[in-house]
């Protein structure tokens, strides 16, 4: 499994566990989960939810325990008596809220403050300036094309530029619509 898949599986597992906790009405420290470690009797519900196998579930549980999203309620190496932590519940709530209300606070306002930003040329950041940003990126693409470098390096540079534009934070800051990078890179 790659990093992205792993993060998605963590999100799914935490949302599932938080739903179970909230069903009981008890605080997180009062609800414990037992994941049977015997390979023939693993937690089938979690495995089905994550669409993985016992090894995959173990890997996800280990990551969650290591990052503090889950904790063992007593000293054991086994996956029994597992509790959701505040961090784990917070991540579950955040992912759930973001899926229902995809507009973060920075996007609901006209401008964004993210510290210092330097740019050569007349570059503006904020909603309504997408055209300007597109022009800058188009210029970069043209410069890459015109560069005296092997095709492979040009391709790599364009790929990195696409990655930059597609990054969720850059999307948020610049207000660039999804698929913009693919559109631009495809055009070149």
């Amino acid at each position: 499994m790659n990093k992205e898949q792993r993060e998605q599986m963590i999100d799914k597992l935490l949302i599932h566990l938080n739903d179970e906790v909230e069903k009981t009405g008890d605080p997180i420290g009062c609800v414990r989960f037992d994941f049977q470690e015997a390979t023939d009797k693993w937690d089938e519900e979690s495995i089905a939810l994550l669409q993985t196998d016992a090894e995959g579930l173990q890997q996800i549980l280990n990551v969650c325990l290591s990052r503090g999203y889950l904790k063992r309620s007593y000293m054991t190496r086994r996956c029994e008596g597992i509790e959701l932590t505040e961090e784990g519940q917070g991540r579950a709530i955040s992912v759930d809220a973001a899926s229902r209300n995809p507009k973060p606070v920075a996007e609901m306002h006209g401008s964004i403050n993210i510290g210092t930003m330097n740019a050569n040329g007349a570059t503006q950041i904020g909603h309504g300036n997408v055209q300007n940003i597109e022009n800058v990126i188009q210029t970069w693409l043209a410069l890459i094309d015109a560069a005296d470098a092997p095709e492979e390096q040009k391709k790599e540079a364009k790929g990195l530029l696409a990655k930059f534009v597609e990054h969720p934070l850059v999307n948020t800051c610049l207000g660039i619509a999804g698929g913009f990078a693919a559109q631009m890179m495809g055009a070149k």
Binding site: E86, G90, S94, A97, P104, H109, I112, P168, L169, T172
Partner: protein, 85 residues
């Protein structure tokens, strides 16, 4: 002895970064807001961030109280030893 003090930062629930994107410098997040992490770009529920911060603050306070109790017990032991001489 000075009162113990500490600073607990809000940290992204996904990557632990303490940098967030705000609309402007004076912006104060409101309950229910989703705040974007400046490092990983993921949206954090502000209420959850506050709850995590509160639980870390409680843990720190418990540690401080335990330390203070230990110090007080040591002092008391010293005083009792002096008296018993």
């Amino acid at each position: 002895m000075e009162d113990p003090k500490t600073t607990i930062k809000l940290r992204c629930l996904f990557c632990k970064s303490d940098q967030f994107v705000f609309p402007n410098e004076d912006y104060k997040p409101q309950p229910g807001d989703l705040i974007v992490c400046a490092n990983c770009g993921r949206q954090n529920d502000y209420d959850s961030l506050m709850r995590v911060m509160k639980s870390h603050a409680e843990e720190w306070m418990e540690e401080q109280a335990e330390e203070a109790m230990k110090r007080a017990a040591k002092e008391l032991e010293k005083e009792l030893k002096k008296l018993s001489r």
